[in-house]
Amino acid sequence: MSTPILSVRELSVTLGGGRASSTNVVDGVSFDLLAGEVLALVGESGCGKSKTAEALMGLVPASLGSVRARRLRLGEKELLDLPESALRRIRGRDVSMVFQEPLTALDPVFRAGVQLADVFRRHRGLGRQQARLAAIEMLSRVGFADPDLVLRSYPHELSGGMRQRVVIAMAMACRPQVLIADEPTSALDVTTQAQVLAQLTDLAGAAGTAILLITHDLGIVAQYCDRALVMRHGRIVEEAAVRQLFAGPAHPYTADLLAAARGGVA
């Protein structure tokens, strides 16, 4: 068995800042993400999937809630011990994220190319011209036939699928060790979904990036993932290889989820 690239132990996120109304939306989550694998995190809306992702990236604002964990290790580095400045260097370079809404994940006032080139300039220290070339290359790798045109487009001039591919290009720009994809295709139609996911997993496979794929779509889990975590009410109720999960779910909730997904067909 390969080594875990991301190791999480007893991660909890409490929203509401310690008041009586505060709730544990993520409650003692532990898992290992192995190098190069695609790990699914499935569960119904509001079960804490997205908050888990935001907590891993350190994106939960202190005013909103608190994040606690016993261990949050990326490779050899213990993220809990690092200062904010060191975390900023890791974000986008070693760990990156693809968001759910491609409509709003790009800044509307800048051309797509500027935002993509920014990642290269910031994390790889490239000059303006080199960053531009790197951006063009990255865009052609996510399947754009005319990367030059995309580079010069404003986000609103691109379709949802195109925008999401730009976001994926940004996330994969530095060949991160871990990519957290939070419902990356929920906002897209089914055909575009398949294209985008295929590109995402291809790129990650080539770069050796491990993906934590957050989704509520069991079809996607079956098709693209190696293992799956099933989450409910902020806890992980089952962890299994995908084949095993579909063949014989151990937890009654997983069985319910599978039955619900099959319900449409049966």
Binding site: E54, R89, R91, G92, M97, F99, A105, D107, V109, M170
Partner: protein, 282 residues
């Protein structure tokens, strides 16, 4: 197409905008000419007789002292631009910075302090405040500028604060954080540029308001101390109009009207041209 050229193409398609641009450029050239000493330098010299009518020697006639009204009106363009630009730039910048600080740290003590300051400034009647500042800084030529900057930023600040509070919850801000940008850079690169439409409108409103306010203050004797402005000319004309002499009154009010009108037309067109979403519609 480069962004500048695109902007120009879109602006050119709007006749009102082109008229505005021509008027503003014309006044800008007058202001620059005044600045470099090419025209209007004899605004203080009394070369003619009292209240001479408009003619080939004195285009707009003369005033009670025999000074050339044309020279004075043209030199006042420089005065107007000076105060308009200084107040528009500084008050908009101050509003953007304080508004962004308050919005980014909303519901914290920073936000509270900015809102408190804004509340205090807004609650003082404007001309009373300017008069107080002008008296407190007696003889300082920038007293009027200071008073205007200190009060004009509040509107911009309030709008920017609200916009920043809206923008900071958008995913691209989260995404910027997820690619490792520090807060200051996120605000400067991704939040403030998204308020550019507000800043543009506010700066142009401040430019127009500053010129109008300067005229009113000078009229009341609180504005321009050393020099000439449309406000001072209008103050002079209060005596003259009753006696049937319209030189000062017509020159100052028509030029003020033309500049403000042209500027409003231009900004209106610019606002449309700047909006990237309008480009798709065309």
């Amino acid at each position: 197409m480069p962004a500048g050229l695109q902007l120009w193409t879109r602006l050119r398609a709007d006749p009102a905008g082109v008229i505005g641009l021509v008027i503003v450029v014309f006044f800008l050239l007058l202001a620059l000419a005044g600045w470099f000493g090419l025209i209007g330098q004899d605004w203080a010299a009394a070369e003619g007789g009292r209240w001479e009518p408009a003619g080939p020697q004195f285009w707009f006639g003369t005033n009670v002292l025999g000074q050339d009204v044309f020279e004075r009106a043209v030199y006042s363009v420089r005065t107007a631009f000076e105060i308009g630009l200084v107040v528009a730039v500084l008050s908009t910048m101050l509003g953007a910075v304080l508004g962004a600080l308050a919005g980014w740290h909303s519901h914290s003590w920073v936000d509270g302090s900015v809102l408190w300051l804004k509340g205090v400034l807004d609650s003082i009647p404007f001309y009373l405040f300017v008069a107080a500042v002008a008296y407190a800084l007696q003889g300082k030529p920038w007293a009027m500028h200071l008073a205007m900057v200190a009060t004009f930023w509040t509107g911009t600040g309030r709008l920017v604060r609200a916009e920043v509070m809206k923008i900071k919850t958008r995913e691209f801000v989260l995404a910027a954080r997820a690619i490792g940008l520090p807060d200051t850079l996120i605000v400067l690169r991704h939040v403030l540029p998204n308020t550019a439409h507000i800043l543009l409108v506010q700066a142009s409103l401040a430019f127009v308001a500053a010129i109008k306010t300067e005229v009113i203050l000078s009229f009341l004797g609180l504005g321009v101390q050393h020099g000439v402005s449309w406000g001072l000319m209008l103050a002079e004309s209060t005596q003259e109009v009753l006696a049937g002499h319209f030189n000062n009154f017509l020159a100052a009010s028509l030029m003020l009207f033309a500049l403000l009108m042209g500027f409003n037309l231009l900004v209106d067109a610019l606002q449309d041209a700047f909006d990237p979403k309008q480009a798709v519609a065309q």
